[in-house]
């Protein structure tokens, strides 16, 4: 009998110990770096508390970079979400053969993972100044580059980012479309509703939280992206992640505390999106699965 008490005490100790590896990892590789950024944002070079860094974020060059990144993320998230949803509809409810569906899912997994440097290479070959498409269109009498198009621009980044944005949407929305039960449609029909009524009154309202959540995810995906922009446009377009990379490299206008404040701004924007995403995700869970 005496032994039971120490045993149970040992068990509680063990229980907390068992969670140690993960929390130590999170502390070392997420919370400490985040704390460095957070606390550094409010300090000057000598370590004294200040709000100067936050004020300096609002200088023209940095605001312009935030604006470019936000435009890029909003446009590619919206286009990606719409196109991805249409394709997800096509492969689930659109009456396409089963084999098409699995091929599209596979291709989407590849394409959504495919960001980064190779993607930039492929689009430079396709749409660069001497690329395949401009050359081809020139033979038809349309000179893309004379008409203001350039792959090394915000437009170019948008065209390139969409390549990994809409496949990501397909991967999220295809299961959501699967979650819509065929019985609901039959029920709608039995009650005299048309296909249009079904989608307007049942299908779309149920899918809406998924759609919005995924759109937010796409926004964050583009906002945080760096390698593709670095390889495609480099210094020609200043996205906000590039401003931070320049600060790390320590070239021009080097100011570590300012770079913390810029990073903090990014984390705030993304923190809000993650919060929205989780909220919308919980909404979705009510109906699907």
């Amino acid at each position: 009998m005496q032994r039971t008490i120490p045993l149970s005490v040992r068990r509680t100790n063990w229980a907390w110990l068992g969670t140690a590896p993960f929390f130590l990892f999170a502390l070392a590789f997420m919370f400490l770096p985040a704390w460095t950024i957070l606390s550094g944002s409010f300090r000057d070079a000598s370590g004294a508390l200040t709000l100067v860094n936050l004020r300096d974020v609002f200088q023209e060059k940095i605001l312009a970079a935030y604006s470019v990144s936000i435009q890029l993320s909003v446009v590619t998230a919206l286009v990606g979400a719409l196109v991805g949803t249409l394709l997800a509809y096509a492969i689930t409810w659109g009456g396409l053969p089963r084999s098409v569906r699995s091929a599209v899912i596979t291709f989407s997994s590849v394409a959504s993972n495919a960001g980064g440097i190779p993607l930039a290479f492929a689009f430079i070959t396709l749409l660069g100044r001497t690329g395949v498409m401009p050359k081809f269109l020139k033979t038809l009498g349309l000179d893309l580059y004379a008409n203001g198009f350039s792959i090394y621009s915000l437009t170019g980044l948008i065209v390139t980012y969409i390549y990994f944005q809409f496949p990501l949407m397909v991967l999220i929305m295809a299961p959501a479309f699967d979650g819509l039960k065929r019985e609901w449609r039959e029920a709608a029909e039995n009650l005299g509703g048309t296909t249009f009524d079904f989608w307007r009154r049942v299908g779309l309202p149920i899918l809406l939280p998924s759609f919005l959540g995924a759109t937010v995810l796409l926004f964050g995906n583009a906002f945080a992206a760096y390698a593709t922009a670095e390889a495609l446009t480099g210094s020609k377009v200043d996205v906000i992640t590039r401003i931070i990379s320049v600060q790390i490299r320590g070239d021009v206008m080097y100011n570590p505390n300012l770079s913390y404040a810029i990073s903090l701004g990014m984390m705030v924007v993304l923190g809000v999106s993650v919060f929205l995403y989780v909220l919308l995700q919980q909404r979705t869970a009510r109906w699907l699965r």
């Binding site: 590789f29 770096p33 440097i117 290479f121 390698a227 390889a231």
Partner: protein
């Protein structure tokens, strides 16, 4: 599969499919074509052989002050480096995620929301911001990790573990849900196994599908990643840095490398799907 789909909606579906497939394949097709054009007026695999060639004398074992090093053409040495980073990240992720998640499922279910919350945090920390945070936290005392090779590698592996955490955690969490860990644990314990044995020989083997699919995502990230590795290892020894350098300096080789890295990604994705199929586990980790 759905016989009641109207012809109109089926036509629209095919049209959407055709447009999307064109968007996804045209850049690859033109890139493949371009990669074959290194030799004038004819198609050849010259760009590929330039990249993949192993000239005589380019592979050698060397005894240096830092030990024995293997010298290889850059394609292979950079790929080997990134694969090594991937392997270490897989080991490290498994080590930090599996025991804790198992323990929380078994004994501390109240902590589940905390783990879930932490596992989505990486979405709020862009790679470049984590790079900045890690560099500034660990390049100066009290933890000057970047001074040593092993310390720098640890930072890379820790950073990669953060990058893939949303996927690896979800995959392992789903895996643990799908097996009866309580019964397995009780059975193993009553046969005299200690906790390390339970996790290593009972839980982990039952999670192998989850761990393998998480591992493949980790590989894809480790091979393609650029920001963190390029700042941690400025000598450009990673595959990502190699790709970037080729893009700056060469014309046809980048095209060949695009195709090669797409083939690598294809291989990994097909492997994930093959492994995820035929099990009750969802392949939720594929992004």
């Amino acid at each position: 599969m759905n016989t009641r789909t109207s012809p109109v909606s089926r036509f629209i579906s095919w049209a959407i499919l055709a447009l999307c497939v064109a968007y996804l394949t045209v850049p690859l097709i033109t890139q493949f074509d371009y990669s074959l054009r290194m030799r004038r007026n004819t198609l050849s695999f010259d760009a590929y052989s330039k990249v993949l060639a192993i000239p005589e004398g380019s592979v050698e074992l060397r005894q240096t002050t830092r030990g024995v090093t293997l010298k290889m053409p850059r394609f292979y040495s950079s790929l080997a480096f990134s694969v090594l980073a991937g392997v270490l990240t897989i080991a490290f992720s498994t080590l930090v995620i599996v025991p804790t998640t198992y323990w929380v499922h078994l004994r501390l279910p109240r902590l589940k929301p905390v783990l879930e919350f932490i596992s989505v945090l990486p979405f709020a920390i862009p790679g470049i911001v984590l790079t900045l945070g890690l560099l500034r936290t660990y390049s100066a005392p009290p933890f000057a990790l970047t001074n040593t090779e092993a310390g720098t590698m640890l930072m890379l592996v820790g950073g990669y573990t953060v990058f893939v955490l949303p996927y690896t955690f979800r995959s392992i969490d789903a895996g643990l849900r799908a097996i009866d860990i309580r019964t397995l644990t009780d059975a193993a314990r009553s046969l005299g196994a200690n906790w390390a044995t339970v996790i290593w020989r009972v839980i982990l083997p039952n999670l192998r599908v989850a761990v393998i699919s998480a591992s493949l995502i980790t590989f894809a990230v480790a091979i393609g990643e650029y920001a963190l590795v390029n700042f941690l290892f400025p000598d450009e020894r990673s595959f990502g840095s190699y790709l970037a350098a080729m893009g700056r300096n060469k014309i046809y080789e980048p095209a060949a490398l695009t195709i090669i890295s797409y083939l690598l990604t294809w291989g990994l994705v097909l492997l994930i799907q093959r492994i995820a199929r035929g099990t009750s586990q969802p392949s939720a980790s594929i992004r």
